[in-house]
């Protein structure tokens, strides 16, 4: 394989700029430094990797689906991430290096055509020795077998996928064997010689870039970073400051250099504020080499981190931050706290919180910063925060917060404070709550102070008030009061049960409110009915009453009847039932799934618990006899612990901390039949009622777990202690005090621990369940693994949003927007004017290097359809939407979908709006938007971030549901069927993901498109397809046909 330099030359002839929306239309690369640098020869622009590419990719941990251009950047990225520890090579790199040597040995055995050939047994020895095998039982015999002779070589042979079985079969017959083993040519960024000469590592003159990448970590990082630049920028930086100089700041370039863009001899800076940036950097952007050198080296890389965060903002936001002296002022405060740490430490960028803050800031018409509440409130909030020794240093030097500008400065300063409950998080939350509320219903100062003051404790619960703006300030106050009351309970068991029951009741309210089953005008009152009963809990029996009363408050609002049965509660959770058959069928399916979890968790029925509780009360009042309750009491005793494998002593010594089944064991010992069979005092009967409370807690918690069951779940169905083991008070792990935090998965990989369980609160339960279940999804590709950093978010995006109230029109419009985006792109291949417009819009979403690739493909006018399939649906949607906003007169001129979309937008503007479709087909972005409300982000796909911003990358991918909606529309599914389709398609997509590293978003796009095609072609399991069949047919199906897990 050989890859000519056409791609680079094309880049130099582009009629489009790619760096910035502000520069896009006018840019050309003709003036780039490369124009005068002179082309390198072809031989310098590629290298040969020994052996087949497939084998090399296996050994290098790179997806088999990458293009040849991506091979070396991916290799560099993986070697830099996984290859070294303290400067020494790790196992990954050692094996890769050994493989390269073995591949070279094998290549020497190949003939001039690059094929390894043996005629049979007589000339197999050298090949076998190279592979690390020998033949057993005599060559040429039917039972001959290849066995390991040299385990080191044999391991590489197997791991790289050499066809050993075929060789063995040939030798059994003493027959010929052939295997192509020629080297693979892959393109190089810049030239091989430049990289080799830039490396500090050198062994001998014949070393090429591959050898360098396998030994020089700094160069790995730099190579990986250079792949993120468009070609003009790359060439410019190669000329000045040059690779050697850049290599000195390789980590900074890698982490924060991706947005640097050089065009027409200058660095494109955020907000086009050349002077301001010159002032900060000390060099002019018009001298790219010097400017970039300064940018990367100043303040230990923190200036680069600042530049990077600002560059990722959309153009209008950049302008705000560069107005007046803001840029410099904000940088000064940012630097003042940043210098406590090192910008290049670790493998992830450290500016994630800064990016979230800057992205979320809103501006008033007069150009001032919009803040929730008034400055006096914030002054009080920060004054309070400054009393904390831990927070104070991160608030910057200036402790006066008497203007909104000062407030923003302080927030910028605090973005370096790596905490989940810092000033930025408080600001984002209060902003989100106020943004969701109407102008005359904003948070009061007192409520703001309360939220800020208690944020560290309830940070994962307060977002409910942003999700449901109908909840007023008293709802916040009452919630805090109830939670505080529960916190003050001294009895550990009672406290754990109270926490579980309270949070589960709130969770049920949240589900029904989100599904619009609680009327808007009853949201606040029903909320109060849920939380208030818990303010008076002092005993188990009281807790039972409170938990039941809270549930009744929700049920009364949702159904009008506070005493409906468990089956009816499940029906409520399974979503609103409409008159149409599709809705009823899907509803039934969802309800069945909930019931299956409750069944497999062996949870007591609410009907039995309430019946028994009321019966015990009646016994106490003499209105019924205890014997009539015996069947109900017996039903409680049906729960059995799993058959033990370990003794109690063994658990104590082999899993002393983790084992957490005490709550369940207590239930097994609960026997109310004894008290019912003999006369009991009122106190004994009250105590008996109290014994039902743990069962009630578990069933309420179980309803939450069951509702958020991720597709492909196994723990929920096979570990009957999973719900019961939820540790609400952290009794199983010492030292954990943040019991209201999101749940974490504990006990993974502890053989005698009784299974993993969740520790913490029920906040963010969908994500915790997704983390629990993700590894039961079986990847289709042998080399692939479930992508831990991303898959939980994908699963949450498929389980938390529901589509009960989406109209067919909205579904169709979502599909049309995507098609319209495709039409725009396709039309821009032959229309330079349109291309400029398209490019300008996309530059707010797509990084320069990717824009360049798109432009190249459009220039070639070949494979435009294939190109379109590589653009994430969210980007296509954004393109069509923004184009329509910006050029309404041109909106319907690019194709039939655009035309149809125009007609629908005119006819039904409300249901065609971004806001509406964003709610319909978006996903939750709790890190970005501080709420679990579904939305589509208007941002570029991001890198992986560490710290608080760790979920940013996954959250920035919100294309899935849009794409599934489009497929559903095209295949004639009704919107309600998305409730089944989306989880199943998402699970299938996850099995198709074949990613190479932690921010490989093209792998997500490939997997999503592949899954869509499989579904269109009928290759996805039938349980999704059945939803389109008439109801009569479905009812006649056997359970096994209908339900497949």
């Amino acid at each position: 394989m050989r890859f000519p330099r056409r791609q680079i030359l094309q880049a130099m002839c582009l009629g489009l700029g790619v760096c910035s929306a502000l520069h896009a239309p006018a840019l050309s690369q003709a003036n780039s430094p490369s124009a005068s640098a002179g082309p390198a020869s072809d031989s310098e622009r590629y290298i040969v990797i020994p052996g087949p590419l497939r084998s090399f990719l296996r050994m290098a941990g790179i997806s088999q689906e990458v293009s040849p251009e991506q091979v070396l950047p991916m290799l560099a990225r993986n070697v830099s991430l996984y290859g070294f520890s303290g400067g020494n090579p790790k196992e990954y790199l050692i094996l890769l290096d050994r493989y390269v040597h073995q591949a070279k040995d094998l290549q020497r055995l190949a003939d001039p055509q690059g094929v390894i050939r043996i005629s049979g047994c007589r000339d197999a020895n050298e090949l076998l020795a190279t592979l690390g095998y020998r033949i057993e039982k005599g060559c040429g015999r039917r039972d001959a077998a290849l066995v390991t002779a040299n385990s080191e070589r044999a391991f590489l042979t197997i791991d790289s996928g050499f066809p050993l079985s075929a060789l063995e079969q040939a030798l059994q017959k003493d027959g010929p064997f052939e295997h192509p083993f020629s080297g693979t040519t892959v393109p190089v960024l810049l030239t091989d010689a430049e990289w080799v000469s830039a490396s500090k590592w050198r062994r001998n003159a014949s070393d090429n870039l591959l050898d360098v990448l396998l030994h020089d970590q700094d160069l790995d990082r730099l190579y990986s970073a250079m792949a993120k630049f468009d070609s003009a920028t790359r060439l410019a930086l190669d000329e000045s400051p040059g690779l050697k100089r850049l290599a000195q700041s390789a980590a900074i370039v890698d982490l924060y250099g991706g947005q640097i863009c050089v065009k027409s001899g200058q660095v494109i800076v955020p907000g086009e504020a050349d002077k301001a940036w010159q002032e900060i950097a000390g060099e002019s952007p018009h001298a790219p080499g010097k400017f970039v050198t300064s940018l990367l080296s100043k303040d230990g890389g923190w200036l680069a981190a600042y530049f990077d965060a600002l560059s990722r903002l959309n153009a209008s936001q950049q302008v705000h931050f560069t107005e007046g002296s803001r840029l410099k002022r904000f940088y000064n405060v940012y630097r003042s706290t940043a210098l406590r740490t090192d910008a290049s430490r670790g493998v992830y960028p450290r500016n994630g919180d800064l990016l979230i803050l800057l992205s979320s800031v809103k501006w008033l018409p007069d150009g001032d910063v919009s803040i929730p509440g008034d400055v006096a409130v914030w002054d009080a909030i920060f004054t309070q925060m400054a009393k904390s020794r831990e927070v104070r240093p991160w608030l910057g030097r200036n402790h006066e917060w008497n203007t909104s500008g000062r407030l923003l400065e302080t927030l910028v300063a605090s973005s370096n404070y790596r905490s989940e409950a810092g000033p930025i998080q408080v600001f984002l939350l209060l902003s989100a709550i106020d943004a969701a509320r109407s102008a005359d219903h904003q948070l009061s100062g007192e409520a703001e102070k309360l939220v800020a003051h208690r944020y560290a404790h309830f940070s994962h619960w307060f977002p409910i008030f942003a999700e449901f703006p109908a909840l007023d300030d008293s709802a916040i106050t009452k919630f805090v009061a109830a939670a505080d009351k529960i916190d003050s309970i001294s009895n550990t068991n009672l406290k754990a049960n109270a926490l579980g029951a309270f949070q589960a009741d709130v969770g049920i309210w949240q589900i029904l409110a989100r599904q619009h089953e609680i009327p808007d005008d009853q949201l606040n009152s029903s909320w109060l009915a849920v939380v208030q009963p818990f303010t008076g809990v002092g005993s188990s029996a009281q807790l039972f009453d409170a938990a039941r009363s809270a549930l009744q408050g929700t049920l009364r609002a949702a159904s009008g009847d506070p005493n409906i049965s468990q089956d009816q509660i499940v029906d409520l959770l399974a979503g609103p039932v409409h008159q149409d058959r599709d809705s009823q069928r899907v509803h039934q399916h969802v309800a069945n799934r909930i019931r299956a979890v409750l069944e497999d968790q062996r949870l007591a029925s609410l009907d039995s618990l309430f019946g028994l509780y009321d019966g015990l009360n009646q016994v106490a009042h003499g209105s019924t006899s205890g014997s009539s309750l015996l069947p109900l009491a017996e039903s409680l005793r049906e729960f059995e612990m799993p058959r033990p494998i370990f003794t109690g002593n063994e658990r104590s010594s082999w899993a002393p901390i983790i084992y957490s089944s005490r709550h369940a064991e207590l239930q097994v010992r609960t026997d109310l039949t004894r008290i019912l069979k003999s006369p009991a005092s009122p106190a004994q009967l009250e105590a008996a009622r109290g014994q039902l409370t743990p069962f009630l807690r578990d069933t309420l918690v179980g309803l939450n777990y069951a509702y958020y069951e991720p597709p492909g779940a196994e723990v929920l169905h096979n570990n009957p202690l999973f719900v019961r083991s939820h540790d609400f008070t952290s009794v199983s792990v010492q030292g954990v005090t943040d019991i209201w935090d999101e749940p974490r998965l504990v006990g993974v990989g502890v053989t005698a621990g009784g299974g993993a369980y969740l520790l913490g609160s029920l906040a963010d339960l969908p994500y915790a369940l997704a983390m629990t279940e993700e590894d039961f999804i079986v990847p289709k590709n042998v080399q692939a693994l479930i992508w831990r950093e991303v898959v939980p978010n994908l699963l949450v995006g498929a389980t938390l949003p529901r589509w009960w109230n989406v109209s067919p029109n909205e579904l169709h419009v979502a599909a049309l927007y995507q098609k319209s985006g495709e039409e725009l792109l396709t039309a821009s291949a032959n229309n330079q004017e349109l291309r400029a417009k398209v490019s300008t819009i996309l530059s707010d979403r797509i990084p320069p290097v990717r824009l360049e690739q798109i432009s190249n493909r459009l220039d070639s006018k070949r494979d435009v359809k294939e190109l379109v399939s590589t653009i994430p649906p969210a980007d296509l949607f954004f393109l069509a939407y923004a184009f329509r906003e910006k050029y309404p007169d041109l909106a319907d001129q690019t194709g039939p979908a655009s035309k149809q979309l125009s007609a629908l937008c005119s006819k039904d503007p409300a249901n065609s709006s971004w806001q509406r479709l964003s709610v319909d087909f978006g996903v939750p972005h709790p890190s970005f938007l501080v709420t679990n409300s579904s939305a589509l982000l208007m941002t570029k796909t991001l890198s992986s971030y560490g710290g608080n911003a760790g979920r940013l990358f996954a959250e920035s991918w919100d294309s899935n549901n849009l794409y599934w909606a489009r497929i559903a529309d095209e295949m004639g599914y009704s919107p309600v069927e998305l409730n089944l389709l989306v989880p199943e398609l998402t699970r299938n997509m996850i099995t198709n993901i074949f990613a190479s590293n932690t921010d490989d978003w093209p792998a997500l796009q490939r997997a999503m498109v592949q899954t869509g095609e499989e579904f269109r072609n009928g290759k996805i399991a039938r349980e999704t397809a059945f939803a389109a069949e008439p109801a009569e047919q479905t009812q006649n199906k056997s359970p096994n046909q209908e339900l497949k897990r």
Binding site: F155, D567, E640, I645, N718, A752, L785
Partner: protein, 344 residues
């Protein structure tokens, strides 16, 4: 090789498709959930005090009780290894055929009925799932283990179908159940080393794949170290294996044996399912262990029964004992109970 299949009461084939224990089968048409006990099948190894397999036993030599309720055996089959004088490659396993136990009744009616039963026809064909540890524990012994597995697969006779799965943090179904042993060997040699070891998670998924199969079914796990990534505990896997009649064999290395929790889990989990655990010191031991499993599989008796009415909706204990002159001295190995499994 002698195959002895016997249906005791001349059951019509359609009867096998009916729920046998409707009392314990709460049905709810609105939820489409079923709790069925169709047939309980037991795979039983009978050995003498030296570990030699005992062949030639007849159905009347077995007494089965479930929660102390006597059960009627509805089908019976002796393993394909019965009568073999051949032993394993290492010559460690001997076979003892009981001439005194008599021969299979030749009642043509019973035999006809027997061969009409879908389970009985294919019962002698074992379904074997090989589950191979490709976690980074395996790095050093990876290729030797592969040699042992390929040797094992080659040694399985044509009556067995084999699947090859591998696991690290995630399961990989490299080759589904097939009679194509070359394809299986190829799959073994196409594995890629992975990261963490989620044995119990992967074993659970494998048991679930095996669960719907009829006839003898076994999972042979090759593990090189303690589990460090599973979220389900071994108890749940063992219980599911017992409830679905899936035998688990585990071959592990000293690295797992040195972890007492893993060693205990491997030994107990396999025992309660009717299988065995082996701790190999080196690759030769691994080959011997595979050989032993192969011998075990071909010498198992398979019997089944429809449970008598039993109100117990939880764990049901199974007890099997040999009755007849001089038979009490032999050792029995089979699962000791099951839990009703929801069919969805």
């Amino acid at each position: 090789m002698r195959k002895a299949t016997l249906a005791i009461f001349g059951l019509a084939p359609c009867f096998l498709l009916q729920p046998a224990d409707t009392q314990s089968a709460p049905q709810d048409d609105s939820t489409h959930l079923r709790m069925n006990v169709v047939l309980v099948q037991l795979s039983i190894a009978v050995t003498d005090s030296k570990g030699n397999y005992v062949n030639g036993l007849r159905p009347e030599n077995f007494e089965v009780t479930e929660d102390k309720i006597p059960q009627k055996i509805s089908s019976f089959e002796e393993g394909s290894g019965a009568g073999d004088t051949a032993s394993s490659n290492e010559g460690e396993v001997q076979t003892q055929t009981l001439q005194a136990a008599g021969t299979v009744p030749s009642d043509p009616h019973l035999q006809t009925a027997s061969t009409a039963l879908p389970e009985a026809v294919h019962a002698n064909q074992a379904s074997v799932f090989v589950l191979f540890d490709t976690s980074n524990y395996m790095y050093r012994g990876f290729v030797f283990a592969q040699d042992a597995i390929t040797d094992f697969i080659r040694s399985m006779d044509g009556a067995s179908k084999v699947a090859f799965y591998s696991y690290c943090r995630d399961l990989s179904r490299a080759m589904r159940l097939t009679s194509d042993h070359f394809g299986i060997v190829n799959a073994v040699r196409s594995t890629v080393a992975g990261d963490d070891a989620a044995l119990y998670n992967s074993l659970l998924l494998t048991v679930k794949d095996a669960a719907p199969l009829k006839g003898r079914k076994a999972i042979v796990v090759f593990s090189n170290g303690p589990d460090n990534a599973s979220s389900v505990p071994p108890e749940d896997v063992a219980e599911l294996a017992q409830s679905t009649g899936t035998i688990i064999y585990i071959i592990s290395t000293r690295q797992a044996e040195e972890d007492p929790a893993s060693a205990a889990a491997f030994e107990r989990m396999s025992r309660v399912s009717g299988g065995k655990a082996y701790f190999a010191k080196n690759w030769l031991d691994e080959k011997k262990a595979f050989s032993s499993i192969r011998e075990d599989l071909v010498h198992l008796y398979t019997l089944s029964y429809y449970p008598q009415a039993n109100p117990n909706k939880g764990w049901r204990s199974i007890k099997v004992r040999l009755i007849g002159k001089d038979l009490q001295k032999y050792h029995l190995r089979t699962r000791d109970g099951y839990r009703l499994v929801a069919q969805r």
